[in-house]
């Protein structure tokens, strides 16, 4: 027999013979573990998806609590309320807010929805690599817990002053963020592979449901972004392992090296699935199927392409003053062009939604998810408008050269937006808008995810604080930028803020009032998330739907 022949037992099975040994029939049957052991060892995509959703919502709540603490401190900018003992603690929480909100909250929430829903949308039995999906989830979760614990153990992504942070905790913070990145990358790979290979015969990529298409684009962009984040972290970590940090591991360099991930254009990349969820919920509310799907798919693809931001790393701007004008990334033509182009893409997407609403010919069915996606679209629009304002100064530089007298007043207002809290507003608009869309997805797919629908009146009750709070948080930060409130609310020094750091803020009292309103926004979003959690808990207590109704939900 050569090695290329079919194995004997296969032939026997093909011939219909029972080749099992006689003793096997009496052997005890293997039963899958239940309870905690079952959850820990599961490869069921539904369970993994639910785990992602539960933990990412919890961590989003934690992130918003951190944002609230920063908000309390900023309500009295020059004095501070003493929530943080020193500037370095504010810096730690400032970094942790971003990493937790985006990499522990938003992105895994989308991955969880996709892990649970995408196979059902493709009529597949599971994701492509179920065990890799489970490994990705646990890697991400352990990384997230370690990241938060390390930051609170005098760690963080660097430190503002020598001795303000514990070296080993900083190293663990960096390593655990890398672990989060690896987990998300593997999870994205599983979803990408599922969407490419698990489609039924005859369904091409452009025939996938909108959410699946947006996840394909999103995981594609994350594939190119997350490895860059990992490379930054590895360089930081190796540098801080040396006797003296040379450039990448000292001071606040570890945070500044990854800051591009929380700034435009990359911040849009984390929100790509918002477009898919919005399309599905919007057309479902109009009781129609998406019309002109291909243009929409192109728009989502263009949004993904323009949101790739790993190249926009201002940490590597040249320190040489002579070379600086040419090398400051946020002043470059490409940076400006991307910000302007992505605004046009969002405008086109709005046009596509309007066309679908018009061609449906009937009023939409107002549901909590419809309200949420409408408001999340408004938040995304606000984010790209903030992005356009941010690049207004370099974009209008040509006009400045042409006639400075006419435009001077306008330019003066635009000049200082770079580096102001407008950047924070942009991030909050985009990320909280995407969080709203993810919650809308939770409502929309609740029958498939939980086996039960969510309560609509309670859902409407959650919409108001969620959306209202998100608007307040983003708008107050963005508006503060026009009064020269800096994007970084800290400076080296002790206590809280460095002397002179906030001297340039115009109308300090007004900015502080804005920050109080922003603080109320954080509290409202937290309250909205609590109402969503209550809704889910209440729903789980009800009777499950039958299988057919659950399938329709996907």
């Amino acid at each position: 027999m050569t090695l290329t022949e079919t194995r004997p037992e296969t032939e026997a099975v093909a011939a219909g013979d029972d080749v099992r040994p006689a003793t096997q029939s009496s052997a005890p049957q293997w039963t899958p573990p239940t309870g905690l052991a079952g959850i820990l060892s599961t490869g069921d995509h539904q369970v993994i998806g639910r785990l992602y959703i539960v933990f990412s919502l919890l961590l989003s709540g934690l992130a918003l609590t951190l944002g609230m603490l920063i908000g309390i401190e900023q309500a009295d900018i020059d004095g501070g309320f003493g929530v943080f003992g020193q500037a370095n603690e504010l810096f730690q929480v400032f970094g942790l807010y971003r990493t937790t909100l985006i990499l522990c909250g938003l992105v895994p929430l989308f991955l969880g929805l996709a892990t649970a829903i995408a196979p059902r949308q493709l009529s597949a039995s599971s994701v492509a690599f179920p065990r890799a999906a489970a490994a990705a989830f646990w890697t991400w979760l352990v990384g997230a817990i370690a990241h938060i614990a390390a930051t609170f153990s005098f760690g963080g992504l660097g430190s503002l002053q020598a001795g303000a942070a514990r070296g080993q905790s900083v190293e663990l913070t960096v390593l655990s963020l890398g672990m989060i990145g690896v987990g998300l990358l593997v999870g994205a790979g599983v979803i990408f592979t599922t969407l490419v290979t698990q489609r039924p015969a005859g369904m091409d990529l452009l025939q996938m449901p909108s959410f699946s298409w947006s996840m394909l684009v999103a995981t594609g962009v994350w594939l190119f972004s997350l490895p860059v984040l990992l490379a930054n972290l590895v360089v930081s970590w190796v540098d801080m392992r040396g006797a003296d940090s040379l450039r990448f591991g000292g001071g606040d360099a570890p945070f500044e090296m990854v800051a591009w991930a929380f700034d435009a254009p990359q911040v849009y990349a984390w929100t790509i699935p918002l477009l898919g969820i919005t399309a599905e919920v919007f057309t479902a509310a109009h009781r129609s199927s998406p019309k002109l799907f291909e243009p929409m798919a192109f728009i989502v693809g263009a949004f993904g392409l323009l949101s790739f931001g790993a190249w926009a790393q201002s940490f590597f701007d040249s320190a040489d003053p002579l070379a600086q004008d040419a090398h400051v990334v946020t002043n470059e033509v490409v940076f400006t062009a991307f910000a302007l182009a992505i605004a046009l893409v969002v405008l086109a997407y709005g046009g596509w939604l309007a066309f679908n609403a018009y061609s449906a010919g009937e009023r939409p069915q107002i549901t909590p998810q419809f309200a949420l996606v409408t408001l999340s679209g408004a938040l995304l629009t606000a984010a790209v408008v903030a992005g356009v304002l941010r690049v207004a100064e370099p974009a209008l530089g040509v006009l400045r050269e042409a006639d400075s007298d006419i435009w001077r007043g306008f330019f003066d207002a635009m000049d200082d937006l770079e580096g102001s809290s407008l950047v924070t507003g942009l991030m909050n608009f985009a990320v909280l808008g995407a969080l709203l869309a993810a919650v809308a997805g939770l409502f929309h797919w609740a029958p498939a995810l939980l086996g039960r629908p969510l309560n609509a009146p309670l859902g409407f009750l959650a919409v108001l604080p969620l959306a209202g709070g998100a608007i307040l948080v983003g708008a107050t930060d963005a508006l503060g930028g026009f009064f020269d409130q800096p994007a970084r609310p800290y400076a080296a020094g002790n206590p809280p803020y460095g002397p002179g750091h906030f001297d340039e803020i115009d109308a300090l009292g007004f900015v502080e009032a804005l920050n109080v309103i922003g603080l109320i926004g954080y509290i409202a979003v937290l309250g909205g998330l609590a109402l969503v959690a209550l809704n889910v808990a209440r729903s789980l207590g009800g009777a499950p739907m039958d299988e057919a109704e659950q399938g329709e939900g996907a």
Binding site: A128, G189, F192, T193, A201, L223, P227, N232, V235, V238
Partner: protein, 198 residues
């Protein structure tokens, strides 16, 4: 039994779900992006250092071109043996497929040995300069990439020994070869960007 008309083609086989291939392409693209980011940092820092009129690699270090060149040629030879393995498995020649995989593994291991020799030979202290830090990060990451590639190759070889791969199912070998070609490509770029340009 119903008659079958002469010349009627047999029903087309169901297309295979190329899950492993697509997953490997995803992982390989991620690896390439990781190295692209590292090399971008390296070249940017090098450019800044040189434009400031300073040295890039410390003059005390002895960074020779010969060991990385030997390693680069070894990697290039492994492309041939890797393709030999894919060619053989596609023709049900499992003996040659395993032999070629073993040779590829050997080439990979010899690059690890060459790099280790170079580490001891060049006298570059990791925390002495930015250049040293980045060189160790990049070459160390590549060693890890080789390690993953070797595990992948050995896994495919064992699965071939167990009869899982044949002309009807070559995905595992093709996937391993895609990853291995990326390993070789990255080394050639490292060789050029770090050791030739210095």
């Amino acid at each position: 039994m119903a008659d079958i008309a002469v010349g009627t083609p047999l029903a087309a086989p169901l297309p295979r779900q190329r899950t492993l291939l697509v997953g490997t392409v995803f992982g390989t693209a991620a690896s390439l992006m990781y190295f692209a980011a590292l090399l971008a940092v390296y070249l940017r820092e090098r450019s800044d250092a040189l434009s400031g009129g300073g040295d890039w690699i410390p003059s005390s270090a002895n960074v020779q071109l010969a060991p990385p060149t030997v390693a680069a040629w070894t990697m290039l030879m492994s492309v041939v043996t890797m393709q030999w393995a894919v060619y053989s498995i596609a023709r049900d020649d499992r003996t040659h497929a395993i032999m070629a995989t073993a040779l590829t593994t050997l080439f990979g291991m010899s690059v690890v040995v060459t790099t280790s020799f170079q580490y001891t030979d060049m006298g570059l202290v990791a925390d002495e300069s930015i250049a040293a830090t980045l060189i160790y990060v990049i070459s160390g990451s590549h060693l890890a990439m080789i390690g993953i590639g070797l595990v992948f190759l050995l896994l495919m070889a064992f699965r071939a020994l167990a009869g899982q791969y044949s002309s009807r199912q070559t995905d595992g070998f093709v996937a391993a070869s895609i990853y291995w070609y990326a390993v070789v490509f990255v080394y050639v770029v490292i060789w050029t960007a770090i050791f030739v340009l210095k």
